[in-house]
């Protein structure tokens, strides 16, 4: 059955539905409500038999490339470190269809934000390529 990543971003993506500050500036209660919702999503996916894994990524980033023969690797924090897309984490899910993945992503996006109002955050839905050759 198809597997998808539901990707959450620290920043980047299409224009936001409405502006909101970074989470460290929210009311502590709102932060709690938000994190509780994310835990609930994980539990719900497990309960549905749709869960594969979930992971978070630290926000610091290092771009690395080969430096050439006998040279050290070249590193940078990016061309536009303040504005480039930055993935915050994901759920990997195993679902019946693409439609189901979209439905779940929209549910994630209804997560409570400041004032416990829905955040309408953009969720990036990416299908994983299957590895096993099909039998047909």
């Amino acid at each position: 059955m198809p597997q998808f990543l539901l990707l959450k971003y620290y920043r980047g993506g299409p224009e936001r539905h409405h502006p909101f500050p970074p989470m460290d500036q929210w009311d502590p209660d709102d932060v709690e409500a938000h994190l509780a919702f994310l835990r609930h999503v994980t539990e719900m996916l497990k309960d549905n038999g749709e869960y594969v894994e979930h992971k978070g990524l630290a926000p610091s980033r290092t771009w690395v490339r080969y430096g050439g023969p006998d040279a050290a690797p070249v590193t940078t924090d990016g061309p536009l470190p303040e504005t480039s897309d930055l993935v915050a984490g994901w759920w990997m899910i195993d679902v019946e269809s693409q439609e189901r993945a979209v439905e779940l992503a929209a549910y994630v996006s209804s997560e409570p934000g400041p004032g416990k109002e829905p955040l309408y955050e953009w969720i990036d839905v990416r299908e994983l390529m299957s590895e096993a050759p099909s039998g047909d």
Binding site: M1, K46, G49, D94, E131, P133, G135
Partner: protein, 397 residues
């Protein structure tokens, strides 16, 4: 897991699963509880049998599963402070193996379950695979598969399971198992063939035979389908010496017996097409006019085939390309653009037809479009190679 011991027991053990489970269900046990109990008995068998093989494996499994059921009922009874339920002892089971399989397939392929649940439940309750093996086969955690199976069983609770079910759903589920691919640990294609064989012990339905023939005729080509580097080899470049002639002969024989009933259906027709490919000593000798005739029959099964069976229309377009010319084939793909235009297979077929037409730049573009949309790594890599190869050959001209 102890592999040699496991291999020793596996075939015989798993073949017993539907028989024992059907026996429990027939004597009035709840399907859900019986299936759990048998799964526990199986795990115990895998532990115990290598050292202490039982005299009568079926009786052993039935006894252990029954003990589990009684234990479960006792603790439930204690919880609810109820009297222990007694149940009627069954008459000794004298049913055929096929009937057992059929009864359970109807349970597991209940039309109210989702396809993923039908597949998972079938592999466990009829196939005798462990939850772990099914989870591995579908690349999900064991806990997720366990949850999926128990939810499916919960939703079957309270439904009468002694009614004949929907054979068309059973066939679709078995075909889904067949096409789900295989990992190193679980060969789902072989498993699907085994289950479809069992099903055919219980029904005379020609479509069930057609499905078995289709699986065998496709499975026969599997050894030639990937090269030693894991790369996909297209049909017209496969080493036909690697095809399993014994499997082909059996598939053709089963197909002929199905067709003689004169009630054709989708699986019989698809098997007939597969048989024509298998029969050709070389790609050039493929009987395309005959294949096209079968595709005509296939799309005649549905109203508005482009909408309701686009895969058949796409397959037919390839046959048209080989019979009436590539341009004609390409024209046949046009009505599908709206429905399949975002799927890799539509672009891959057009790439093939452009190539047949000698238009390599167009073929390269179509293959690249297909690669862009593939959802399987091996197919994506194959399509990228096709695109690059067509592009390079196109420049040389």
């Amino acid at each position: 897991m102890d592999e040699p011991a496991r291999r020793l027991d596996e075939g015989a053990l798993r073949a017993l699963v539907p028989r024992v489970l059907a026996g429990l269900v027939r004597r009035g046990e709840d399907f859900d509880a019986a299936e759990d109990a048998l799964q526990e008995a199986l795990l115990e068998a895998l532990r115990v049998w290598p050292e202490h093989p039982p005299h009568d494996p079926r009786a052993w499994l039935t006894t252990v599963a029954t003990r589990r059921l009684v234990d479960a009922r006792r603790s439930e009874a204690a919880r609810h402070r109820r009297e222990e339920v007694t149940y009627d002892e069954p008459p000794p089971a004298a049913t055929e193996e096929g009937d057992d399989t059929l009864l359970l397939l109807f349970c597991c392929c209940h039309p109210d379950l989702s396809p993923t649940s039908q597949v998972a439940l079938t592999l466990r309750a009829v196939g005798g695979l462990t939850t772990r093996e099914i989870a591995d086969a579908f690349y999900v955690p064991e806990a997720t598969m366990a949850q999926r199976i128990s939810r499916a069983k919960r939703s079957l609770r309270g439904r009468p399971l002694d009614q004949p079910g929907d054979l068309a759903v059973v066939l679709r589920v078995l075909y889904l198992v067949y096409t789900a691919g295989h990992t190193d640990r679980v060969d789902l294609a072989a498993e699907a063939i085994r289950l479809t064989r069992q099903l055919n012990l219980a029904t005379e339905e020609p479509e069930a035979r057609g499905l078995l023939a289709l699986m065998l005729l496709n499975h026969a080509r599997l050894p030639a389908r990937l090269d030693s580097g894991g790369r996909i080899v297209p049909l017209d470049q496969q080493d036909r010496g690697l095809w399993d002639r014994r499997e082909i002969a059996e598939g053709v024989h089963i197909l002929q017996s199905a067709l003689s009933v004169q009630r054709p259906g989708r699986y019989q027709i698809e098997a007939a097409i597969a048989a024509l490919h298998d029969d050709a000593p070389s790609p050039e000798e493929t009987d395309w006019p005959q294949i096209l005739a079968w595709y005509d029959d296939l799309i005649a099964l549905t109203d508005e085939p482009a909408r309701h069976d686009p895969a058949a229309v796409l397959g037919r377009a390839v046959a048209v390309g080989h019979v009436q010319g590539a341009e004609a084939g390409l024209r046949e793909t046009e009505p599908l653009r709206e429905i399949l235009g975002d799927r890799h297979r539509w672009h891959a077929v057009r790439g093939h037809l452009h190539e047949l037409n000698g238009d390599l730049p167009a073929a390269a573009n179509a293959y690249a479009e297909a690669a862009h949309r593939a959802t399987n790594l091996a197919e994506r890599d194959h399509l990228v190679r096709q695109a690059a190869r067509a592009r390079a050959a196109g420049y040389v001209r």
